[in-house]
């Protein structure tokens, strides 16, 4: 496979994952904002903006400015629209490595957003999010039906690296809500925040299945970091990354620095538990995790000659 094609596929994976995450973030924030008064709306959107690493801005009436920034702004390279436009550009360039179905899924998502400039009212944004989620699921479905070869592995690698980044950022922004072990969640506001987090990673029901008890902050952190049953957890993304790199190794008989880094990260994760992470300081731990995750991304690019 051409190194340039590999780069395109890896970025398609990252960008489509990012588009999906930002879609869920936008949707969940609308729900959260709807639960409180004016100040609450402002706070909900500011928090959403900081999850994607955006500079603070006046979020506008009903979070209009923030919704536009997250969903459609061409000035925000991480907006859903920017991600899909860039993913489609990459998909055009790597067209031969995609299935027809895979291309069509990306192209359909692009048709939904490419000429949109305004998110409209809150309901219109929710409708847009719903439409996008359907198209993005279509992409995931198309991916699942692809031949298991380099093309598939690169896209999956991209989405796993992106997922590690997004989940860690999400937790980091909400870390001040994560009370020490043993404490109950206070007040209605807290519970709403927790529910929002779970919605973003589509794990509201999963939490009930895994823990069979009321929302407890350390359990949410435990789930998002350590529970490999949850596809959006750090553990799952770390494990998948190792497995995907292993597929390349099995094909070529060679391994490289990315394999080593990914394995090191996974074994470190497996030696820890949520108590140890809290003891070390969740914020610090997450920052180190994001740094390691980036390093793995860079060494994947170098190993496959597209860095």
């Amino acid at each position: 496979m051409l190194a340039r094609t590999a780069a395109s596929l890896y970025w398609i994976g990252r960008l489509m994952e990012r588009a999906e995450f930002t879609t869920r973030l936008t949707e969940a924030t609308i729900r959260l904002a709807a639960l409180g008064g004016h100040a609450h709306v402002e706070q909900a959107w500011s928090s959403a903006l900081s999850v994607v690493g955006a500079p603070p801005l006046d979020t506008g009436r009903e979070g209009y400015v923030a919704r536009r920034f997250l969903a459609l702004s061409p000035d925000n390279p991480g907006s859903i629209r920017s991600c899909i436009v860039a993913a489609r550009d990459n998909a055009r360039a790597a067209r031969t490595a995609l299935t027809r179905e895979g291309w069509e899924a990306i192209n359909r998502a692009w048709l939904v957003v490419h000429s949109r400039t305004s998110p409209g009212g809150v309901q219109a944004t929710l409708n847009l999010a719903e439409e996008l989620k359907a198209e993005l699921r279509g992409f995931e479905g198309a991916l699942a039906r692809m031949l298991r070869n380099e093309g598939y592995w690169f896209m999956r690698l991209g989405s796993m690296i992106e997922r590690g980044d997004a989940t860690a950022r999400l937790l980091d922004v909400k870390y001040y809500l994560l009370l020490p072990e043993g404490q109950e969640v206070g007040g209605k506001l807290d519970r709403d925040q927790w529910t929002t987090i779970l919605q973003i990673v589509s794990a509201k029901t999963a939490y009930r299945h895994l823990y069979r008890e009321a929302l407890r902050p350390w359990l949410v952190a435990d789930m998002l970091i350590f529970r490999r049953e949850l596809p959006r957890s750090l553990a799952w993304a770390a494990e998948e990354t190792v497995a995907l790199l292993g597929e390349f190794g099995a094909r070529s008989g060679r391994q490289g620095p990315a394999d080593r880094l990914a394995r090191q990260r996974l074994s470190k994760l497996q030696e820890l538990d949520v108590g140890a992470v809290f003891k070390r300081g969740l914020h610090q731990w997450l920052h180190a995790y994001i740094r390691d995750n980036n390093a793995i991304g860079d060494s994947i690019a170098a190993q496959f000659r597209f860095g």
Partner: protein, 488 residues
């Protein structure tokens, strides 16, 4: 040439709406399918093309402007007998084209014998000096030719132009057929249509057949200018269907006259390049220095015989429109036979008499740049404004050798969906002719372009043209049934 009412390929010249013999099933289908149903199917086809991204961009418009080429659901049909004659003419012509190119870059016999004037060839900007004297692997230059034909009567086909550089449009032949099979399956029950889907496989065989001798397991790639090029969809479609890599110039490098592509496992040697970029962009060291699309040293690798370029550099000399006008002589010279396909009558404006005729009849003629394509740099006299005609008059007087003139022919029509219902629209036809080490192959089909505007003769997609599927019927109904029976 027919005067007055143009020849309709379904109705002939009958005023009573009697289909030409053999075309009755199509007439019945048209009569029996409700117009609203045809319109619905056409929309479904266009929606599918949009979702596939079968788009082209119009040069000069914003980069974002991606359009689909309008598709018309009424097919254009050739009988088995018509096709047999056509394909014999095409094969003869393409053999002569290859012989001509080999000659003008080799012994130049045809120039020495005075059949074609030497200056029109050697002083032509399309004459590629760097390849003079070099012989491509297996002696084939124009591996893929798209020959533009027009029709004016039942047996009257004329060649309008030969596209022997990097002709495009073949993906429409295949995608249009795909759409027709899906949307009008009943047509394939009533007409014995020969399949076209073997084209990518035949192209693949052609490419591998011309690999440099000594390449034991040759590797072939398709070189594209990139995904902003208007024909990019076709590049990716063909690469995909042939199972070869789609590369850009930056994916290749030349080292010691050997071409390599940069892969995730390191460098891999390349033996055959199906290039869809023009000669002038191939290699900045030899041609345009500002080319970002090409590969440094590619021509040196080619001249060393280490890589085959398809089509070979320099083939443009044969699709120069002034040289094209000598094609009847060229065919006779190399094959010893009369040309089976006639040329459209052409006045070469470099000749003072022809120039005078052209200037005197600008309002009746079509004037073209000898090296133009895509409908650009062209005057259609009967529909042009006075201002345009005067502009061309000045240009012609300034550089007559850059122009040719042709009569405006009454192009044949085919029933087409239009705002006024089913109406005749003018069409042309581009079949694709493959030449490999083992001879010439022609898939029974091609690209039919249709001028959607009433009365218009300009079929170019950049100027309001659309496409149709082109059915070639089998002589034996049974033969075709097995060909389409596998399709859903």
């Amino acid at each position: 040439m027919a005067e007055g009412k143009p020849f309709d390929e379904l109705w002939g010249t009958s005023r009573t709406r009697t289909a030409r013999p053999g075309f009755e099933p199509l007439a019945r289908w048209l009569a029996e399918t409700p117009p609203a149903e045809l319109a619905r199917r056409q929309q479904a086809a266009e929606a599918a093309f949009r979702s596939l991204g079968i788009t082209f961009s119009v040069y000069g418009e914003e980069q974002e402007a991606e359009r689909i080429i309008p598709f018309d659901i009424v097919p254009r049909v050739f009988s088995a007998g018509e096709w047999e004659k056509l394909s014999a003419g095409l094969e003869q012509r393409v053999r002569a084209i290859n012989a001509f190119i080999a000659d003008v870059y080799g012994p130049r016999r045809i120039l020495a014998d005075g059949v074609v004037p030497a200056d029109i060839v050697l002083a032509n900007p399309q004459y590629c000096i760097p390849v003079a004297g070099a012989r491509p692997p297996h002696g084939v230059y124009a591996h893929i030719c798209g020959i533009d034909l027009i029709r004016t009567g039942p047996d009257e086909f004329y060649v309008l132009e030969d596209n022997v550089r990097t002709p495009s449009g073949v993906s429409y032949m295949i995608e249009n057929r795909d759409a027709m099979l899906r949307l009008c399956p009943e047509l394939f029950d009533i007409l014995p249509v020969r399949p076209v889907d073997s084209y990518p496989e035949l192209l693949r065989e052609t490419l591998y057949s011309v690999a440099p001798e000594g390449a034991s397991e040759p590797r072939c790639v398709l070189l594209t200018p990139g995904h902003h090029n208007s024909a990019f969809y076709e590049h990716s479609f063909l690469a995909d269907n042939m199972g070869i890599e789609l590369v850009e110039g930056r994916d290749l490098e030349v080292d010691d006259d050997i071409v390599w592509m940069k892969t995730i496992d390191g460098r891999v040697r390349v033996d055959v390049i199906y290039r869809r970029i023009d000669d002038s962009f191939l290699d900045p060291l030899v041609f345009r220095r500002d080319s970002l699309l090409g590969v440094n040293g590619l021509m040196a690798a080619y001249l060393a015989g280490n890589v085959s370029l398809v089509n070979a550099p320099g083939t443009g000399i044969a699709d120069d429109k002034a040289i094209c006008s000598y094609m009847p002589e060229i065919v006779r010279y190399y094959t010893g036979e009369e040309a089976k396909l006639a040329n459209v009558e052409t006045w070469r404006c470099r000749d003072p008499k022809a120039l005078r005729h052209t200037l005197d009849n600008l309002d009746k003629l079509v004037v073209k740049l000898v090296d133009g394509s895509g409908g650009y740099g062209m005057l259609v006299g009967p529909t042009a404004s006075k201002k345009e005609i005067e502009r061309f008059r000045d240009a012609l007087k300034a550089q007559p050798e850059r122009y040719i003139a042709q009569p405006t022919l009454p192009l044949s029509t085919v029933p087409t969906q239009s705002e006024e219902g089913m109406a005749p629209r003018h069409v042309d036809f581009r079949p694709f002719v493959l030449t490999g080490a083992n001879g010439v192959t022609i898939v029974p089909g091609g690209l039919t372009r249709v001028a959607l505007r009433k009365g218009s003769l300009v079929v170019n997609s950049s100027q309001g043209g659309g496409t149709k599927d082109s059915f070639v019927l089998a002589a034996e109904p049974e033969a075709a049934a097995s060909g389409t029976g596998l399709r859903p």
